[in-house]
């Protein structure tokens, strides 16, 4: 693992390369697209490149696809759900509940064919990924470890520079576009006094027998920590878990990377006072001291400094420290073992200074910084694919997970196709009378905007006079101002953005997500919806970059001309005529200034003979000889008192009926 790559070796290596850099190696292989890493992200983008017949190669340092899953998760249970039954046949909808499959046109490559378990065994993922690579004949070069990446200016290159990659055998590759899908494979190892006594998640024993009768301290509060604790909770004396922040439960935050219910046995035993416990403390401020008996003690640096202001390192085993301080310290008991489960970070070491992506700040420091289009902030032509691209939606949507980044990879591919090959972002153009139908279809089945809510959204581009529209799927909304540059589509006559959102006051750590008034049912209260529900923004003009950056806090988009919430639904089925479709139609009508109602041919006939302008439905349908004829059964029904076919309840009529009842 590059993790254990000694620093001094690296620095020598860098020196060598830098000297090489002055002359570009003449002996290289040119590739339009280079993908680094054959994990799920790399395979997903490779699939799209293959489909569009682009020249590409995937470099994989191991001899198999998805090698990460050969060791991780250590306890071999994936926590991405594999829901094989939903009661629906709609394949797109079913992907909303299939968190492991990659996108492809082949139904045999759905994960449900690879595992029957709701939480599948990690081995099935390796099996799946290698099948995926093999069946589509993806161009993967195994056992090719990219050791160094350099960018060189060149006028002829697509982006004004080429990427030069060097593998472990000093072979060079020149790439027009670099797709980095290396994942986040470096364990995060903070340096604190006594850290040498700590075992890492990556190599600690997974055999509970090794922990019988022991006191264990776990550093970290993520799923890896809880998975580790779960495994040994039955045999240890007690387990304490310490981490920087308070616990974040996935069910409270709606973020799948937070603690999942499947791993929470420790929470049970802590809250039921069964000896196990949770503590808060900053990893940078702890000290671990080994006593005479080899037991390990956790203390804060603060105490340590007070007593050893002179010389820290020499007195690290100072026993006197252990007797100091308050006598009811929560961690006063010694531990037999301390396990570090602090997560992973992106490997920045293979990049030269010029090609190195900037890292995020604060809790995003483990990720390379990217724009909303997943392109590196500082280097055009380099895209981050897969879990490492999660800085865009960290702790929000699913971009760090297979079920999210399979869609962001597709978005990146569509962007590449447009930018380098002139293939416009796919759209369908339809008459405006079909607008409601298309929106209802998408909000009910689309998986991309469901998993990547508030990150990817659908866009409706209106054409002049709002008689037609184009529908564009799964566009990164952060890049909305650059719509034309990224897709080749203009939004000169206004646009709708169809997004999915949780109520903003609902999902956060420590929120009571089961409070009795957690959901609303009335369409007029739709804006108070808490659970994931469609929100439609209407803009007369494409939002500018400035409007985007100055948008209200917590808003995914700037303030629109009009906004509409489709009321949340327990079944996420938004097809009810009165609760969902009618309010949506009223909203669209307000924005467009057009009548979007449907009419029977008879009404269209009457309009055609008495009005200069017909509603769009009559105009596109009836006048094109495609009017809707009711049959006798229907006519009888409609002529019942209170509803006349001609009197479609226009505004002029309705108050009148009301008044007449006085």
């Amino acid at each position: 693992m590059p993790a254990s790559w000694p620093r001094w070796t690296l620095s020598i290596f860098v020196a060598v390369i830098t000297s090489l850099n002055t002359a570009i190696p003449s002996n290289y292989q040119h590739l339009d697209y280079c993908v680094i890493g054959a994990g799920p992200g790399g395979l997903q983008i490779a699939y799209f490149l293959q489909q569009s017949q682009r020249q590409y190669v995937v470099f994989e340092r191991s001899n198999t696809s998805g090698s990460f899953f050969g060791r991780y998760p250590r306890h071999r249970k994936l926590i991405s759900i594999n829901k094989r039954y939903t009661g629906k046949q709609n394949k797109e909808f079913n992907l909303r509940h299939d968190w492991n499959s990659l996108l492809s046109h082949d139904d045999n490559l759905l994960y449900k064919h690879y595992s029957k378990d709701f939480f599948p065994h990690a081995d099935t993922m390796i099996h799946y990924l290698n099948d995926f690579a093999r069946i589509f004949g993806l161009k993967i070069q195994y056992n090719k470890e990219i050791k160094w990446i350099e960018a060189k200016r060149d006028q002829k290159a697509w982006n004004g520079h080429y990427f030069f990659l060097m593998d472990q055998n000093d072979h060079y590759y020149r790439c027009s576009v670099l797709l980095v899908a290396t994942g986040i494979s470096e364990p995060y190892m903070p340096n604190f006094p006594g850290s040498q006594h700590v075992e890492g998640y990556e190599n600690v024993s997974v055999d509970p027998a090794d922990f019988v009768g022991q006191a264990v301290l776990i550093l970290g509060r993520g799923n890896a920590a809880f998975e580790t604790a779960d495994n040994i909770v039955g045999v240890t004396n007690f387990i304490h878990a310490v981490s920087r922040s308070r616990i974040r439960l996935a069910w409270a935050t709606h973020y799948v990377g937070d603690i999942r219910a499947v791993n929470n046995a420790l929470l049970d035993t802590y809250q039921l006072k069964s000896l196990d416990g949770l503590l808060e403390g900053d990893m940078e401020n702890i000290v671990i001291i080994q006593d005479n008996k080899g037991k390990l003690h956790l203390r804060l640096k603060y105490h340590f400094n007070k007593n050893n202001s002179q010389d820290m390192s020499s007195n690290i085993n100072d026993q006197s420290l252990l007797s100091e301080g308050v006598d009811n310290l929560a961690v006063r008991l010694p531990y037999d073992r301390i396990i570090r489960c602090l997560g992973w970070k992106f490997d920045f070491s293979i990049f030269s200074n010029m090609s190195k992506p900037r890292s995020g700040r604060g809790r995003l420091s483990k990720y390379p910084l990217v724009k909303a289009t997943y392109e590196a902030e500082n280097l055009p032509g380099m895209f981050i694919i897969g879990t490492a691209s999660h800085s865009v939606d960290y702790r929000k949507a699913a971009g760090g997970f297979v079920h999210g980044f399979r869609y962001t990879a597709r978005a990146v591919h569509r962007l590449l196709e447009h930018r380098y090959h002139g293939v416009h972002w796919p759209t369908i153009a339809l008459p405006i009378s079909q607008l409601i139908n298309v929106i209802i279809k998408r909000i009910n089945e689309a998986s991309g905007i469901y998993q990547m809510f508030s990150v990817l959204a659908d866009i409706v581009l209106l054409q002049k006079n709002a008689t037609k529209f184009e529908y564009l799927e799964e566009y990164p909304i952060g890049a909305l101002p650059c719509l034309w540059e990224n897709t080749g589509k203009k939004a000169e006559n206004g646009l709708f953005v169809i997004n999915l959102e949780y109520g903003s006051n609902f999902s956060k750590p420590e929120a009571d997500v089961f409070h009795p008034r957690r959901s609303v049912g009335e369409p007029k209260h739709a804006w108070l919806s808490n659970f994931l529900h469609p929100v439609i923004y209407f803009y007369r003009h494409l939002p500018t970059e400035t409007e985007m950056t100055q948008r209200p806090k917590l808003w995914p988009l700037p303030r629109p001309s009009h906004i509409h919430h489709v009321v949340e639904d327990f079944l996420t089925d938004w097809t009810a005529a009165k609760a969902h479709i009618l309010p949506l139609r009223r909203f669209l009508e307000t924005c467009l200034g057009t009548d979007l109602r449907y009419f029977f041919a008879e009404s269209c006939f009457k309009f055609a003979l008495t009005n200069q302008h017909l509603p769009p439905f009559c105009h596109h349908g009836y006048l094109n000889r495609q009017g809707l004829l009711g049959n006798d059964n229907l006519q009888d029904r409609v002529e019942e008192p209170g509803y006349l076919p001609g009197d479609t309840g226009s505004v002029e009529e309705s108050p009148l009926h009301h008044l007449s009842n006085d």
């Binding site: 079909q434 009223r586 009457k606 200069q612 000889r625 029904r637």
Partner: protein, 755 residues
């Protein structure tokens, strides 16, 4: 002719011994005849079968008796079950019309729906009777025309009501009854007329009345001054308003404010007193007039000599105000500008009206946003069609779809979704078509629910739902592009099943085909036979024809004959190959068209053209084929096949052959086949004329309509003469009020900040 007919009916009416079964005026013994002969207007309802909505109407009719009597209108009903009055009692069903007579002449008919309560009855009846006194306008231009005309002559009272028959409409009609000779009354239901009136959005639908002071305008270029009436439109309020307007603009008093009595005081309106002295009189008079104009209809203005003020009044006061309240005392104020004075009155008015308004708001606060106003969605909702039994039609999946295409020669597939109301209505028709075609072994009707199989629908390019596609062996699948109804779909399927063109091998076959003898099963689906005639060396022409035949798949099945019988063919059909021959089945006549260097589109166009008629009956289904929005429509409305009607139809059929008449789309609508035609007539004329009636409609020129005079016989000469008169602009068009205008309703209010 038409008029004579009318008298004939009335004669019959009189001859029958009418017992007015339940004369609303309770004079049971009085004969119906007497009512008619009295010469007074009468509103008569002929009662057939009663249903709940009719009995509701009858109640309202009874209630309106007294009010109408005040205007000299008699109200009566005739029971058709005992007195079968010709014409008026004709069909024994629910009779949905009431008729207004003056003497022996039927002035108008009203559908019962328009007479929904007493206000509506009185308003509608007076609207007809006061035809000369109150003018309907539908645009600002019309209004300006009237204003211009009235300049220097008289004042104009303009009223906007959101709909015909509302209480405010009645109020203005009753006012017009009294003041009709004094002022010109104008009525509109068009919001566009309000456009420049600077109204708030919320006011856009509420009735408005304003007074145009046109009489005093001497310069034609000067606009008429306007005074807006700001109280609820009731007869009493309007009457008070007019009384105030008739009073002098500024009253000059010689006594003190306490003793002044004006019409305003009697009507409980505030009065403003302005004080003057001889030195400033001219200036004060101008100020007073300025104030008075701004407060016209809201308050009176009186100019009082300062000398008449009581000694206890401070000397520096400029204005006195007599408020509306019980307290008759006068408050004295020091106000410097005209605006301050105006605001003083306006703020007082506001204070009063808010307390009044509260109750109203509550009753009017009806949430229309949740009301389903989509007739298709409503029909589905009422029928509960989501539970429609569609199991007879196989539902295809991604797997069974390709298999089905292989298993049956012809496969028809409906692509739909269950949430789409249009899909669900059409599915009903589809089920019916499927039942009717169940016997055909080579045909399968199936469906794909795009909510379940979006992938199938997108590969089949079914993006606009609902859509029907027909798959036949060895041919490109064909999208159905006809009406979403049983008959059209049946026709499409039956015609598409047949290989197009049909190859005819012998001349006898050609003749048989033209007579509709070959493929007899097609006769129900196409009323015309088309055959292309070619000789063996005309490969190119034949190819073009076959392409055209392919384009017309599902619309018409053509025949095709290739042979060397030039001479016979030209003798028989008057054309030599390459040629097209058409035969309409109901006519014996065969028509031939020579094909010379024609391309596919031209052939398609020629065949489609041959399927159209020069004087067609327009129906809901065929209108799109004939509809040309820019061409004036000359429509004959008929409702029976009596000799008069037949004669008129014949006259017009001949008429359409005149060259100059190609300018018009001439057609007829039979109300028995096309019931909605009656509503259309009602919209055009606002009453139902005697049928047959000839109407000229110009949609392109802003909804102009002309009715052929009822008293004239519809003959070629008369119609031609009439049209010439219209062209020369001698007849003014009438415009119909647009009843079906659509308005945006604000969606549920979104509190954005709550995000």
């Amino acid at each position: 002719m038409a008029q004579r007919q009318c008298y004939l009916y009335l004669g019959l009416l009189c001859a029958a011994q009418f017992s007015v079964l339940h004369c609303v005026s309770k004079e049971n013994e009085q004969h119906f005849v007497n009512i008619l002969q009295s010469g007074k207007p009468s509103l008569i309802y002929f009662k057939g079968i009663t249903n709940p909505s009719i009995s509701l109407f009858l109640q309202q009719l009874e209630k309106s008796t007294e009010s109408l009597e005040e205007y000299g209108v008699t109200v009566a009903q005739v029971d058709c079950n005992t007195e079968n009055v010709p014409k008026y009692c004709e069909n024994n069903h629910v009779l949905k019309k009431a008729y207004l007579f003056r003497a022996n002449i039927m002035l108008r008919s009203f559908t019962v729906d328009t007479l929904f309560d007493v206000d509506a009855i009185v308003a509608n009846v007076l609207f007809v009777l006061l035809f000369n006194e109150i003018k309907y306008v539908s645009s600002l231009v019309d209004l300006h025309d009237i204003e211009n005309y009235m300049k220097g002559q008289g004042d104009v009272i303009v009223t906007f009501v959101p709909a015909i028959g509302v209480p405010e409409h009645r109020a203005i009609m009753e006012t017009a009854y009294v003041y009709g000779t004094k002022y010109k009354f104008v009525l509109t239901t068009e919001q566009s007329v309000l456009k420049d009136k600077e109204l708030q959005d919320s006011d856009k639908l509420s009735p408005r009345l304003w007074f145009c002071h046109c009489k005093m305008v001497m310069d034609r270029n000067e606009p008429c001054k306007k005074t807006f009436f700001e109280q609820p439109l009731t007869t009493v309020n309007i009457h008070s308003f007019l009384k105030v307007l008739e009073a002098p603009l500024v009253m000059e008093s010689t006594v003190g404010p306490e003793d002044v009595s004006t019409v305003h005081v009697q009507l409980k309106m505030p009065v403003i007193f302005l004080f003057t002295q001889r030195e400033t009189y001219d200036h004060d008079r101008i100020t007073a007039e300025s104030v008075a104009w701004q407060l016209l209809g809201k308050a009176g203005v009186v100019l009082v000599p300062r000398a008449q003020l009581q000694p206890n009044v401070p000397e520096d006061v400029t204005v006195g105000l007599k408020s509306v309240g019980e307290d008759l005392s006068i408050s004295y104020l020091v106000l410097a500008s005209v605006e301050e004075i105006v605001n003083l009155v306006k703020s007082e008015g506001k204070h009063l009206s808010t307390t009044e308004k509260d109750d109203e708001d509550e009753s009017e606060d009806v949430d229309f946003r949740g009301v389903q106003d989509d007739e298709v969605a409503e029909a589905i909702y009422r029928n509960g069609w989501r539970d429609l039994d569609v199991d007879l039609i196989p539902a295809l999946t991604d797997r069974s779809f390709p298999q089905s295409l292989l298993a049956t020669p012809h496969v028809v597939v409906l692509f739909y979704t269950v949430w789409d109301a249009v899909s669900m209505v059409f599915l009903q028709s589809y089920v019916e078509v499927s039942t009717r075609l169940a016997d055909l072994k080579d045909l399968l009707l199936a469906r794909v629910n795009c909510g379940d199989w979006p992938d199938v629908c997108s590969t089949e390019n079914a993006t606009q739902l609902p859509v029907v596609k027909m798959y036949s062996p060895g041919e490109k699948p064909l999208f159905y592009s006809g009406m979403l109804g049983v008959q059209s779909l049946l026709k499409f399927i039956m015609l598409t099943r047949i290989v197009n063109p049909v190859h005819l091998t012998a001349v006898e076959d050609v003749e048989a085909y033209l007579r509709g003898k070959l493929h007899g099963d097609l006769k129900t689906y196409q009323h015309i036979s088309v055959v292309g005639l070619f000789s063996p060396d005309m490969e190119k022409e034949l190819d073009t024809f076959i392409k055209a035949a392919n384009c017309l798949k599902g619309i018409v099945v053509t025949g095709c004959y290739v042979g060397n019988d030039h001479q016979y063919l030209s003798q028989r059909f008057g054309v030599a190959p390459p040629a097209l021959v058409f035969a309409k089945h109901e006519e014996s006549h065969i028509q031939g068209v020579q094909l010379e260097k024609t391309n596919t589109e031209e052939i398609v166009f020629a065949i489609e053209g041959s399927m159209l008629e020069t004087f067609p009956e327009i129906t809901v289904e065929n209108l799109p084929s004939y509809f040309k929005p820019l061409k004036p429509l000359l429509i004959l409305f008929i409702d029976n096949d009596d000799t008069v009607t037949l004669n008129v139809k014949e006259e017009l059929a001949e008429f359409t052959k005149i060259r100059s008449m190609q300018l018009y789309t001439t057609c007829w609508i039979d109300l028995r086949n096309t019931q909605v035609g009656e509503e259309i007539l009602q919209i055009y004329l606002n009453y139902l004329p005697q049928l047959p009636a000839l109407i000229l409609v110009q949609l392109s020129s802003g909804s102009h309509v002309f009715a052929f005079p009822e008293e004239q016989v519809i003959s070629r000469e008369n119609v031609l003469h009439w049209l010439k008169k219209l062209q020369s602009g001698q007849e003014p068009p009438t415009q119909w009020p647009k009843h079906q205008r659509w308005n945006v309703r604000e969606p549920v209010h979104q509190v954005e900040d709550a995000l």
